[in-house]
């Protein structure tokens, strides 16, 4: 069962946003849930940090506040591995689902499920960014510090974003999710400028490592619906986990994807094996006692994250490259944070990745 925000049992609202017109509909939705008006995040941090398991606690406490920084930010890549030049639209942080490998568990201290409600500022900034037609900003996504769709349907933000992107032709919006919260998307004037994207994994990994997420079949069925509503699609195999029999399982997922949707509507497919900051290991061991994912053959990467031993990554990627070539030869597939050796040995190319993806967006979504 997908967990969106049904489990929220406490609300905190920043004093200086309580009168925003974006807030009241949210409070109406959570009628009956205890709500505290606070002067800044400290009480929320305290409440979360004092819990026995702050990460689980944070998934049940929603904090409505204002984003005081930039809404559009460059995705933090590293020099050592090829980065895709993505832009993040910072709508909120953390998540109500609970994946063992989720980097957000170790990223925020403590983690806080916060939703930014200063949408007027968000759209002002977005207008500026889109109107500037900056050639470096062609792909923007909300699913980097959170899941794009857990905030639906009560926030209505994604719907507004879809329509805003539909009124321009310079960039695409990518909404990436493990939920099936697609209700209402069929009513929107998206103009193919929003890519509906799903993170996918093998049924084994979804069942054992992705608590409260939608099953693979449900994600693919949702993708098929979005395709029928005219949306371009994307799929992210990230993180791929190496386990006995994983190659056949991942190849099968590729086959299943293209049993549901047609390759020409897929803007891109990304591949990335599990990598983690060393601090995440202890968190996974404590919070997911039965998880085996940290017991693979990992080595410290050049970005100081632990990564699977390179020949193992390449072997899995080669199997995926062959499957993708068979089922979707024209679809752009790319690696998230891999070096040129991995690219060369798996896809026989070392591309200008941002240009490759921009080109895909032009082809599939019609941006100019």
């Amino acid at each position: 069962m997908t967990s969106t925000l049904k489990n929220v049992h406490t609300l905190y609202v920043d004093q200086d946003v309580r009168d925003f017109d974006t807030v009241q509909p949210i409070l109406d939705h959570f009628k009956g849930v205890p709500c505290h008006i606070v002067d800044g995040p400290t009480p929320v941090f305290r409440r979360v940090a004092s819990a026995k398991d702050p990460i689980s606690a944070a998934k049940e406490i929603l904090y409505l506040t204002r984003n005081k920084g930039a809404f559009v930010r460059k995705c933090p890549g590293t020099r050592e591995y090829t980065c895709c030049g993505y832009q993040i639209l910072h709508i909120g942080t953390f998540c109500t689902m609970d994946c063992s490998y989720c980097v957000l568990q170790a990223y925020f201290h403590p983690p806080v499920l916060q939703f930014f409600v200063n949408h007027r500022e968000l759209f002002d900034e977005l207008d500026q960014v889109l109107d500037s037609r900056n050639p470096e900003i062609r792909r923007i996504g909300t699913g980097e510090f959170t899941d794009s769709m857990i905030w639906e349907p009560w926030s209505g933000l994604s719907h507004k974003l879809v329509e805003r992107f539909g009124r321009q032709d310079h960039a695409v919006l990518e909404l990436k999710s493990k939920t099936v919260n697609i209700r209402g998307l069929d009513q929107l004037d998206h103009n193919r400028k929003t890519i509906m994207a799903w993170s996918v994994n093998t049924p084994e990994i979804i069942a054992t490592q992705e608590r409260n997420t939608a099953p693979l079949q449900a994600r693919l069925a949702a993708a098929a619906k979005c395709e029928a509503w005219g949306y371009p699609l994307a799929f992210h195999f990230d993180p791929m986990v190496i386990y006995p029999g994983c190659e056949q399982d991942y190849v099968k997922v590729v086959e299943q994807i293209f049993e549901h949707v047609s390759p020409e509507n897929v803007a891109w497919i990304s591949l990335g094996t599990f990598r983690f900051m060393p601090d995440l290991k202890a968190i996974i061991e404590t919070r997911f006692e039965n998880s085996k994912i940290v017991y693979g053959e990992f080595v410290p990467g050049l970005d100081n994250k632990m990564r699977y031993f390179k020949p193992l990554r390449i072997k899995l990627f080669q199997a995926m490259a062959a499957a993708l070539k068979k089922h979707a030869p024209q679809t752009t597939a790319y690696f998230c944070m891999e070096d040129e050796e991995v690219w060369r040995k798996s896809f026989q190319i070392t591309p200008d990745l941002p240009a490759l993806l921009d080109h895909s967006a032009q082809r599939v979504c019609g941006i100019l």
Binding site: E80, Y295, F309, D339, E341
Partner: protein, 323 residues
């Protein structure tokens, strides 16, 4: 607190040496004490308390009583504490007597702490601990609680900590495990006598192999290979320890160790000039290799000037670099 006691001659048969309630000291080689009692007599009488039926329990002086028995003495002088003295007061006396004589070992400290106010809230207990152990400052609560837990661990783990074959931080980790698992580790550690770092390394490797392969740690530690290393009489401890660790690393990281071995074999096949080393990228992750050779002075360097060309022309080099 001022506990009254008087010195009397009592028969050794009236002392119940099996009553270990107040024992703090660990068993040690008593030959020096024995020699002293033989030549000078028992200078410092043990502290005992009447326990009914004409018998006495020892509060302090377990080793002294044992030595006197081994010397076939019939009667000794003892300081006899009032039988109405409460148990906690006797415990404080036992600890203070021991702590006043010598620096307590870790296990002795553990027994001492277990005697002082068990179950009493820390804030009330800390002053009792300071008094009994003659401390000037309040000790760290968490550390004291960890030390106290030692004497309730399995005897094999206690013995390992006592003979320094099991490091205390490792003992704490073993305590958190199921008894069978902890004992399997204790057995291996006691047989190998490893440093703290190596104990930790083995602990992690075994736990991760077990978790990955759905085995118990005991299964991993009692595998035929590890048993063979441990049983081999021709290997010294250092060699056994190295082999056990290498075996575990290989089992935990099979592809990585295989790649390392293959690289080493291929580099050997290159027949590099003496003193020249070729090193792979760290963990085979990056793409930069290192060629290393040493020289003492400029002349030496000039003599080696064509090392790079010589290595670059080695027929097997390309295969290594094109992995």
């Amino acid at each position: 607190m001022h506990t009254p006691f008087e010195i009397y001659w009592i028969s050794l048969d009236s002392i119940d040496s099996r009553d270990l309630d107040f024992q703090v000291s660990s068993e040690k080689d008593d030959s020096a004490l024995k020699r002293s009692v033989e030549s000078l007599g028992l200078i410092n009488p043990p502290l005992v308390q009447e326990k009914g039926g004409g018998m006495h329990r020892i509060i302090s002086g377990f080793r002294r009583v044992a030595v006197c028995r081994s010397l076939d003495m019939r009667r000794i002088q003892a300081m006899i504490v009032d039988p109405l003295t409460p148990h906690q007061e006797c415990a404080m006396l036992a600890v203070a007597e021991n702590a006043g004589q010598r620096e307590l070992g870790l296990l002795e400290m553990s027994r001492a702490l277990a005697l002082i106010g068990p179950g009493i809230p820390w804030q009330d207990r800390v002053s009792m601990i300071m008094d009994a152990l003659f401390l000037d400052e309040a000790p760290n609560q968490r550390y004291m609680e960890q030390v106290e837990s030692l004497c309730s661990m399995a005897p094999e783990i206690q013995a390992g900590v006592e003979d320094a074959t099991i490091a205390f931080p490792v003992a704490l980790k073993l305590q958190a495990m199921a008894p069978g698992e902890a004992l399997a580790f204790a057995e291996v550690f006691r047989r190998l006598g490893l440093s703290l770092g190596k104990q930790r390394e083995i602990l992690t490797l075994v736990k991760e192999i077990a978790a990955r392969d759905d085995l118990s740690c005991k299964d991993v530690l009692e595998s035929a290979e590890i048993s063979a290393f441990l049983e081999d009489k021709d290997r010294d401890l250092n060699l056994k320890s190295r082999e056990v660790r290498e075996f575990l690393k290989q089992r935990r990281f099979p592809h990585i160790t295989k790649a390392q071995e293959a690289f080493e074999t291929e580099v050997q096949g290159l027949n590099l000039p003496k003193g020249v080393r070729l090193e792979p990228p760290a963990h085979f992750e990056g793409q930069v290799y290192e060629l290393k050779f040493s020289f003492k002075n400029v002349n030496d360097l000039i003599k080696n000037h064509n090392v790079i060309i010589e290595v670059a022309e080695k027929p097997g080099l390309r295969k290594i670099l094109d992995r």
